[in-house]
């Protein structure tokens, strides 16, 4: 039967040539190359469970909360679907970030793969936005407060703030249309763009071929896709699904019936968003209490931590391949990855950035921490105001020094040569060293 289908398709499309290309393709193999696949499989779970959830969800302020809350009452599978969907979202963003850290520290973003880095970072941003719009859909007390904050952030943007807020809410918070808008954005707009970018991401990967640690720039060195790599990635798919299902079955996430439906005059305490949005909340908590005016127009205190800070950080991250190239004066093409210790300053910068994100995320629960250690919240705010800049700097410097020491040791032991040369016999009977492409 399979043979029949293949013959049918090949007769009409000549598809065997394409199939041969796909199945015989060689992929470099390393455990860290599976991190992106975890994100891909989490996305597949999100689409599968998400489509199911659209059959239940009602996008209007009156019915939204009940349509989601009744999932758990009506059928256990509905509750499980929502739990799997939410856990997949959490795992999706986490896998993207870890994958991105691997790309960063091994310098896989270098020429000729800068654009794929940009596509990847864009997907991270869209994934976070999809997550935020998604957990706002149930219209529960926690997410409603989050939406209100998001609306306030929109309002804080100069010039277009009020227009953007009106478009978003349908005219003043909470607005009759906000859930409907969120539904469109969450279900049609963002996932479709993510799917398109994902295709571009993988298309570029196949076309430009995967990077590798093996220092043989002229060849791709690795495993054949069929059946070797296909089985491995199938194992990765099974593992992703298993972990997410087990988490969904065991640890309740976003218990909306505990929060209750949203009323704009109630708020849960403490109120903390999903983890990938928490760094923004942390920024809002420790941001300066400072408002100024331009030509009589207020620039609210939210503007700096919630608009400027993320835009600046994301611009740097998106532009990183070019910043890195300018910094290293390395504009050559690279297909071979470096060990992270190869560039201690890059390790330092990346670790510092991760530390800053982590500290800001921790700052988003400063009230709970203050309660736990019996200190006033204001002391925690002061602590984080110092920790975020200085702590990140310290982590960055220490990580850089650590990487430099590791690099020194491996060089001393001769375990890892950073120079790859070909030896060529010369006319005097000796050997000349000849650099092989750009090894790293």
């Amino acid at each position: 039967m399979m043979r029949g289908i293949v013959a049918f398709l090949d007769d009409r499309f000549g598809s065997n040539a394409g199939a041969r290309f796909v199945l015989r393709k060689i992929y470099p193999d390393h455990w860290s190359f599976y991190l992106g696949e975890f994100a891909l499989y989490a996305f597949m779970l999100l689409v599968a469970t998400g489509v199911w959830l659209t059959f239940v969800y009602q996008a209007n302020p009156t019915d939204a909360y009940d349509s989601v809350a009744s999932l758990s009452r009506a059928a256990p599978i509905g509750y499980l679907m929502r739990q799997v969907h939410h856990w997949s979202a959490v795992a999706f963003v986490a896998a993207i970030l870890i994958h991105m850290a691997r790309i960063f520290f091994t310098a896989a973003f270098r020429k000729p793969r800068e654009l794929n880095w940009v596509v990847g970072v864009t997907m991270l941003i869209l994934a976070s936005l999809t997550g935020f719009t998604g957990y706002s859909l149930p219209n529960d007390a926690l997410s409603g407060v989050g939406l209100r904050i998001a609306d306030s952030v929109l309002l804080a943007v100069p010039f277009i703030g009020n227009w953007a807020s009106d478009v978003f809410t349908g005219g003043g918070f909470p607005g009759p249309l906000i859930l409907q808008h969120l539904y469109t954005i969450h279900v049609y707009f963002l996932p479709v763009i993510i799917a398109l970018l994902l295709s571009a991401h993988l298309g570029m990967l196949v076309y430009q071929k995967h990077t590798q640690f093996v220092r043989e720039p002229q060849n791709v060195v690795g495993r054949r896709f069929w059946p070797d790599y296909a089985l491995r990635t199938l194992a990765a798919l099974g593992a992703t699904v298993a972990v997410i299902l087990a988490l969904a079955a065991t640890v309740e996430i976003n218990p909306i019936d505990v929060y209750g439906p949203y009323k704009d005059w109630t708020a849960p305490n403490p109120a903390v968003p999903d983890w990938y949005a928490a760094f923004l909340d942390g920024g809002l908590r420790i941001g300066p209490s400072f408002e100024f005016t331009i030509f009589g127009h207020p620039i609210p205190a939210l503007f700096l931590p919630a608009v400027v800070m993320p835009l600046v950080v994301l611009s740097i991250v998106i532009a990183w391949p070019w910043i890195d190239a300018a910094f290293t004066r390395d504009h050559a093409k690279h297909d071979v990855l470096v060990p992270p210790t190869f560039a201690p300053w890059r390790v330092g910068f990346g670790s510092g950035l991760i530390a800053a994100g982590t500290f800001l995320t921790l700052a988003a629960s400063d009230d709970a921490q203050a309660l736990a250690i019996h200190q006033p919240v204001q002391s925690m705010v002061t602590f984080y105001r110092i920790l975020v800049p200085l702590g990140s700097l310290l982590v960055g410097v220490l990580a850089g020094l650590f990487a430099r020491e590791l690099r020194r040791r491996s060089a001393a032991h001769g375990t890892e040569s950073e120079r790859v040369v070909a030896l060529r016999r010369n006319e005097h009977g000796g050997f000349d060293e000849e650099p092989v492409g750009s090894a790293l």
Partner: protein, 262 residues
């Protein structure tokens, strides 16, 4: 091992399907499906290992660029300058045209102000009117204008203070009859409900970003990120002894924005 893995996958997938059909608990359902997925991982992992396929197969990397430039028809090349720019401007014009409908998406700005009007009775979220002595000293309640419970931006914190502690602002004399002082419940920082009242220190506390407002001193921010005091609602008592508003808030309620000038 491959067979064992596949057996687990089949067995538990069937079990999970049955569990779903018989409305088993989400925990059982989830774990059965998770174990089925583990079976796939075991089977695929074992099969890949059993292949003992080499991990050092090679295929040449072809440099993808740079390649030769695309030749242009000669007549295009000579007239390129002006035409190229015009094409670009046309594309830009259409891009702007594409944005135009989104500008129109903004509805008429919601009328400023809240649902509070002069003479509106102060009610609890159950729409029960509040008398000047309904709250005991130290008491606190969320209140709305009568019959407008839940109206946007109108949520208000009513606090009954001991008679002499409030530092009355010169222009706000008589706004707090019998110690009933009312402030907007919408935080001036990011719009969260300022839902927590700290009795001991007479402070309102926002659970979102920990702004603290001094209830005794016109709800001015004393710590946290807020920059503006919570607007105060002027109260009065009507002939029947119920609390009423003297009018709408005189300052903007909620977070600041570009267009919200004081």
């Amino acid at each position: 091992m491959t067979r064992a893995g596949l057996a687990i996958a089949i067995l538990f997938a069937v079990a999970a399907t049955l569990a779903a059909a018989f409305h088993a608990s989400p925990a059982i359902l989830g774990w059965l499906a998770a174990i089925a997925a583990v079976g796939i991982t075991l089977a695929a992992g074992a099969a890949a290992r059993d292949l003992q396929a080499p991990d050092d197969l090679r295929e040449p990397r072809h440099a993808r660029g740079p390649t030769a430039p695309v030749p242009e028809p000669p007549d295009m090349a000579t007239r390129r300058g002006a035409f190229g720019r015009l094409w670009g401007i046309a594309a830009g014009a259409f891009a702007v045209l594409g944005i135009a409908p989104f500008i129109a998406l903004a509805r008429k700005p919601a009328p400023r102000g809240t649902a509070w009007t002069a003479g509106a009775r102060v009610v609890t979220p159950d729409n029960l009117p509040v008398r000047a002595d309904t709250l005991s000293v130290g008491g606190v309640a969320t209140v709305f204008p009568a019959d407008r419970v839940g109206a946007p931006e109108s949520a208000t914190m009513l606090i009954r203070l001991p008679s002499d502690v409030l530092r009355v602002q010169p222009d706000r004399t008589g706004w707090a009859p019998d110690g009933n002082v009312a402030y907007s419940k919408i935080c001036t920082h990011a719009g969260c409900p300022v839902a927590i009242y700290r009795h001991a220190s007479y402070e309102l506390y926002c659970p979102c970003h920990q702004s603290v407002f001094d209830v005794l001193d016109a709800a001015k921010p004393v710590s946290g990120p807020a920059t503006r005091a919570l607007p105060q609602l002027a109260l009065d008592v009507d002939a029947e002894g119920y609390l009423i508003a003297r009018g709408d808030y005189t300052e903007p309620v909620g977070p600041d924005s570009w267009d919200r000038t004081l």
